[in-house]
Structure formats: structure tokens, C-alpha cells
Assembly symmetry: C2
Homo-oligomer: 451 residues x 2
């Protein structure tokens, strides 16, 4: 998060309050401003000062503000709080946010902390902590608004007023039977428009769109985006309501997945935190690993060149090696980029043949045009026969690169792997080896062997 | 949008209704299901059949369902509707969705259509059409809930009941004075918890976070995500409320921008529609242009090689050209990917020096390690002196590539251009030319000139 205008305007005031130890001022600061704005000002300050400020406001407010701080900052902050205050704070946090924090904390510290947390909250935490990472369960909150079907609209509104303070949202209300099975849905908008004496079961929507607790978080986010929902209900295998995922958490998941795909696609192991707060060594490791793997692939290309090349007077060939290899790699990057992004947006399912046929035609057409241009480029430096070798190679690598670039991510997906692993550099590396083989064989075919 | 389970389950039923011309059945189908689900079933069918179904339901319902259809499908569909029915449909659509559609339609057709649309809607359309593309104004809706400050909570709820059917959301309520200046904010959650006799001015939040109508859509989406809002108010230069942008439109903007960045980064001009529905020739053009530009860059590399190479017995050098060039390109891709993504998430502002220093150290460290590995690889094929040339070159290209890959996007941004234009293939092309120059000069320095 970058410092916004708020932060720079408000920080001096807050600093003054801290210096003067102005408790009521700090409390007012936390109460009057939107929690997200307060968090933005605080995250620019050292954790000790942040705690000095937060100490002056009630636990509920503390939790509100705390939730808007970035996770690594939260982690720093909890080191500076005594266990008792921390357990209070964690009790007040939204279930999904606190699980995010606890998952990152040292397991021993968490075990030390849990006994201090109220029983009901504790079992909720244990439950949420048990869901698999990246599942709907791991991002959901258990603080949803739910009502039985057999009450009137007036009763429903009365009950919602009571539920409101502790629920993540009361704008979507889920109707459950006595076994907690999800049987209906009602928006608050519809509810306040309805006749006060109407019964929920007569006006609720029965066709409720829900997702399963073990569905992938990306699927959940896509469903929320598809239907423009504020929240989506999460059910277990018996259609019992166990939680909701709200639109803001879905947006976070989307950003996270887009970032992860972008990183993978640039041949970086995905970072958990934002670029600037990722420690130097982590960054080094997550990039270095890939660079070494790719160097391994490139050294294969050197071996192939060594094997194809010796004893041949093909000094001229070196001129076009970068051009030939780049053309194939670029064509492959393009189609891989398009296909991987389309897969992330869930647009490719069942369309593999259509994609292959499309990329095949495109590859042939683009290959043809690039080959003609390459012929012209080569003619400026070498004779016609040799230029033909270059042009033919360009045609092959572009056509092949285009098709392979689109099919390899789909293949990875079928193997159950993340298609984004097929990064641009990896495609370039594969294309380099093939390109060299094609180039030398084209030369042999057109020019004959030179002994 | 891929066909979901709903679509495949429901389509046979609907087909039967169409065949039997079962009007009430089709109306029931449109009414009972969530509009997004109906749209999903319809978009898999030919437009004529879709219209056969929609004809049976009231205009408001038609518009609801219509809005969930993908834009290109909407465009096809409007060709099949007579002007009168179309104008009705457009009147019923949400202001932001209809402007999206009208912007894509033939301007003459729009001019023909406008006289048939009610006066109030017409001026609203003209206004929204006038905002610049990618501005907050272009994605906002004018259907927000607003109330004066001097009424009671009970009055407010009564007025909201009246406003509810025509507003995009009533969960966030904006308080304006007689000049439409935005003076306060109230959520429906707070409102239904408040004492019925309380006055809004006493309980509303006065610190309202808003954005300007000419702010960039990406900024608006980031603000909504930052504060977890359901909607954000849009004001003009005099702080008058002119519209709202809702969370679902913000999520669309984020997806759109992430897709655009991914495409640019893979050296594809951004597609307006999803990959599979983009016409073949558009796809050909948006990829071909870049491939040709990159071929131009690669032919420069050939020229440089031609200029550096002649008369030299450096047959061995060809072996490591792909390795040397790939190492530089990969290192550059990595840092460009990380920096461009961090910029999209608004994390880099004011941090240019910090980033440069970080990448400099990382580049040096990764360069050193890759150089050692490259030395080992080269020793297997050539003698020690020559291997030293390879290793030294790898160090330089990796270190340079890392720093340049991070700085070039920041430079583009400073020039007011989209940093994502610094695509992986472009960085690879720049790195190829530099790499060749470094490689040959390293050879000359270490081995001496071979005449």
C-alpha cells in the first residue's frame, strides 16, 4: 500500500498527539476516521508508536483498524503486545482475518494464545485453521446473517438489528432450516421493501447459488464476480451453511491470483507478500532458482550447437541465431500469455480443439509474414540460398512456437499443474533448443553438408 | 464465460419450451432463476432463440438478464430487436451497463435510437457517454441512493423503500445538501440499528471518502479494494455527488487491467474482448504488429553481429550465444514482471531509489552465481580462457538485465506511458543487442584480437 494523501495530511497531527501523550485525542483519531484511513496512517509509523495509539481505543475499534494493516505489519505488531491484550484483539477480529494472521504466526505462539481466547471463538478458529489453503473454507467467515423461514418480515428486521453488530454483512440473509441446511436467500433490499406481515418462506428466493467449502478460492472469486454478488454462501457436503465469502475477500483473491500468475509467467516463484516487503533473500531465492533452471536449459542449447556444428564452415549462421531464436520465443510467449490469462478467467474449458485450430492458422499466417521479412533482412547480409535457410527456419519456429505456446499451458492444466508455470522464459528455452535444431537442419537441406 | 453446470442442466428444458412455444413457461424460467444464471443459459444459444425467450418477460426482467450477457452477444442481440423494443430495454438497463453497450454500437444507430428514449434517461445517457474512456465517470452509475441530512431515521427508511427498486445499491446512502454537495455517509446497516427518531445529520459519518469523476478507473478500483467498500461516491470538482461506482464494476476493472497488463507483458496489444471471441484478424493484427517490431529489433542484433564478427576465428563463440542472451533476457523479465505488477497494485510510488538499490544488489549476486555455473558449463566444451569470457559476459548481462528490467518500466511510467509496454520480449530484444556487444568485447579483452 502506498501512502495516500490522507496519510501525509494526518500523520503530523497524530505525531503531535503521541508526543503530548494526548489519550483522548488519539481515541478521537481512531474513532472519527474510517478504519482503513487510520490503518494507512499507522502503517507508515514504527510498530511501537502504532501500539501507543491503538492502546487508547476500545478493543472492537482496535480490531477494525488492525484488520486493515498489511499482514507483515500485523505480525510485527503482535510481537509488541502482551498475550492478554492480544487474545482480546484476536477475539474481536473477523474470523477470516484472524485466521489469516494465526496461519502466519509461529504455531507455538498460537498454541500459547488459544487458551486465553473465549471457548466459542476458539473452536471457530480451530475449525477455520483446519481448512486447506486456497480452499473456500480458508477464506470464508463464519459471521453471516441467517434466519429461519417461518418468521415474518417484521420479526426478521428485529432479529437482524440484534445480529448486525457482529456480522460481516447483513445485506444478504441466508435462510436455514433447523438442521442448518441452506434453503433460501433474501437480500436486505427486498426485505425492507416487503410487507411487514409477510413470511420469509413465501418471499425468499429458493434457487440459492452456493459453493462448497472445499472448492478452490479462485473458483469462488469467479462465481462472485460472475453474478455480481456481495457475498456467496459456503456449504458442506450436506448443503449445510458453514460460512460466507464476501466480495472484498473475493477481490483480494483475484488480485492475489493475478499477481501469482504474473510472477510465474515472468519466471519468478510467486511471492507471498508485496514486492517491496519481501525479504531480500526470499526474493533472491525465488528468482535464482528459476534462473538456474533456465541456465540449465540454455546449456542444453549449447550442447546441441556443439553437436551440430563442428567441422562446418557456417560462420554466417551465427548472425541469425538471435533472430531465429527470438522469433520463436516471442510467438510462443504471445500465445502462452493469451491462453494462460483466458484460463485464469475460466474461458477455455472444453475449447481445447478450437484454440489449437485457431493458433495453428495464426501461427502459419504470422510465420509466413515473418519469414518474408526475415528473407529481406538476411538478403542484406548473405546470399539468397542462405537467406532462404533463415526464412524457412523463421517460418517453422514461429508456427511451432505459436501452437506449442498455447498447448503447453493446457497440457500442464490437464496434468493438474498450474498452467502459469509455463513461463515466457521457459517457452523461450524450449523454443531455443528446437530452433537451433531446425536452423542447422534447414542449412543442411538447402546448402548440403559442408565437410 | 464458460458454460457452468447450470447451463448444461437447464438448457434442455428451455429448448423444449421454445419448441412448444410455451410462453408462460419461458416467463417463469426468466423470473424464477437468478438473472445471471438465465443469461448463462441463453448465451449458449443462437441470438434468435434468446430473443424468443426474452420476449415473454417484462422489460425490467429483460434488462436484468440482458446485462449479464457478454457485450459482443448483446451487440448481436440488439441487431435482432426492433427499435421500439430496444429503446424500452435500454431505458430499463442500469446507466453504466447501457453506456457500455451504446459506446460499442454504431454511432448512427445510437442517434436513431435516442429520440425513442425518455427525456430524463436520454440526458443521463448523453452525459455518461461524454466522460473520457477509463475515467471514473465512464464506469459510474447515476442510480445511487441519496437523502437530505435533516430527516429522521424513520423518514429515511421510508424514502429508501421508495428509492430501492431503481437504485443500483441502497446499502450505502449518501447525504447531500440542497446543492447536491456530498456532506455525509450512512450505511443501511447503521441506519436500521439507529433510533427511529434520530436525525441523519447527528448520526451520519462526515468523513466521506470519495473520488473525482475524472480520476482513472484503476485508481477508483484500487480505492474500493483498499477500504473494502461496496461502492464509492464520485464527485465533480465542486464536491457535488454525480454518481457511484459499485464493487462489482471495480472488480471488472481490476480483471480488465490485469488482463491488459498480462497481454502487454506477453507482447500482445490488449484485446478488448475475451480471447476466444476476439475475431481472427484482430488477433492476427494485435500479435503480428509486435512480432514485426521485435523482428526489427532482432535484425539489429544480426547487424551488430555482422559488424563485430568478420575475419575472426570465433566459431566457438556461437555455442554460447543462446545461453548468454537468454540469461540476460530472463533476468530482465523477472525484474520487469515484479516491478510492473507492483506498480499495478500501487506499491512503488516514491520508492524508485529503494527498488533500484535492491535490484542492483540482487543482480550482482545472481549474476555472480550464474557466472560460476556458466563457467562450469563452458569448461565442458571449451578451454578455460574462453570459459572465462562466457562467465564474465553472463555476469554482466544478468546484472545489467536485472537493473534495466526494473528501471525501464518505471521510466515509461514517468514519461506518462503504460509501464506494461515494457514486455518480456522487448526486454529480451534490448538485452540481446547489449549481450552481443558485451560478449564480443569480453572475447577481445580476454583473448585479444584475432586478425
Amino acid at each position: 500500500m502506498s501512502p495516500s494523501i490522507y496519510s501525509s495530511l494526518l500523520q503530523p497531527d497524530l505525531r503531535l498527539m503521541i508526543e503530548e501523550n494526548d489519550g483522548p485525542g488519539m481515541e478521537e483519531f481512531c474513532r472519527a476516521l474510517y478504519p482503513g484511513v487510520v490503518a494507512e496512517v499507522l502503517e507508515e509509523m514504527p510498530v511501537e508508536e502504532t501500539w501507543t495509539v491503538l492502546r487508547h481505543c476500545p478493543a472492537a475499534q482496535q480490531a477494525e483498524i488492525f484488520q486493515f494493516l498489511p499482514l507483515p505489519y500485523q505480525m510485527d505488531l503482535v510481537q509488541n503486545i502482551d498475550r492478554k491484550t492480544l487474545s482480546k484483539l484476536i477475539e474481536e477480529m473477523a474470523p477470516d482475518d484472524r485466521v489469516d494472521l494465526l496461519e502466519r504466526m509461529d504455531p507455538d505462539a498460537v498454541e500459547n494464545l488459544l487458551p486465553l481466547i473465549a471457548q466459542a471463538e476458539r473452536s471457530d478458529i480451530r475449525k477455520l485453521l483446519s481448512y486447506e489453503e486456497h480452499s473456500a473454507g480458508s477464506i470464508m467467515t463464519t459471521e453471516y446473517a441467517s434466519l429461519p423461514a417461518d418468521i415474518t418480515v417484521a420479526d426478521a428486521l428485529q432479529r437482524l438489528r440484534v445480529q448486525a453488530p457482529s456480522r460481516e454483512t447483513i445485506y444478504y440473509i441466508y435462510i436455514t432450516d433447523s438442521g442448518r441446511h441452506l434453503i433460501g436467500f433474501m437480500s436486505l433490499r427486498k426485505l425492507i421493501q416487503a410487507r411487514p406481515t409477510a413470511r420469509l418462506e413465501d418471499i425468499m428466493e429458493r434457487d440459492v447459488i452456493s459453493v462448497r467449502v472445499d472448492d478452490d478460492q479462485e473458483f469462488v472469486a469467479n462465481e462472485i464476480a460472475r453474478y455480481d454478488f456481495i457475498a456467496i454462501p459456503i456449504v458442506d457436503s450436506q448443503n449445510r451453511l458453514v460460512g460466507i465469502v464476501t466480495h472484498d475477500d473475493a477481490a483480494d483473491v483475484m488480485q492475489e491470483e493475478a499477481t501469482e500468475d504474473a510472477h510465474l509467467h515472468g519466471a519468478v516463484l510467486p511471492l507471498e507478500d508485496s514486492y517491496l516487503i519481501t525479504p531480500f533473500l526470499t526474493l533472491f531465492w525465488k528468482r535464482g532458482v528459476w534462473l538456474v533452471i533456465l541456465l540449465g536449459a540454455a546449456s542444453l542449447t549449447a550442447q546441441v550447437l556443439n553437436w551440430l556444428g563442428p567441422g562446418q564452415d557456417r560462420n554466417w549462421m551465427v548472425l541469425f541465431i538471435p533472430l531465429v531464436l527470438a522469433s520463436g520465443g516471442n510467438a510462443g510467449s504471445q500465445s502462452a500469455t493469451l491462453v494462460i490469462r483466458a484460463m485464469a478467467l475460466d474461458e477455455t474449458r472444453g475449447k481445447v480443439r478450437q484454440i489449437a485450430w485457431r493458433e495453428f492458422r495464426l501461427g502459419a499466417l504470422m510465420g509466413l509474414i515473418l519469414a518474408i521479412l526475415a528473407l529481406a533482412v538476411a538478403m542484406a547480409l548473405v546470399d539468397f540460398d542462405r537467406s532462404t535457410v533463415v526464412a524457412a527456419t523463421v517460418f517453422c519456429v514461429v508456427a511451432l512456437g505459436t501452437v506449442a505456446g498455447s498447448m503447453l499451458p493446457l497440457g500442464l492444466d490437464r496434468l493438474g499443474m498450474d498452467p502459469a508455470l509455463m513461463s515466457n522464459p521457459l517457452i523461450a528455452a524450449i523454443s531455443d533448443i528446437t530452433g537451433v535444431v531446425i536452423y542447422y537442419n534447414a542449412a543442411r537441406l538447402v546448402l548440403g553438408a559442408v565437410s
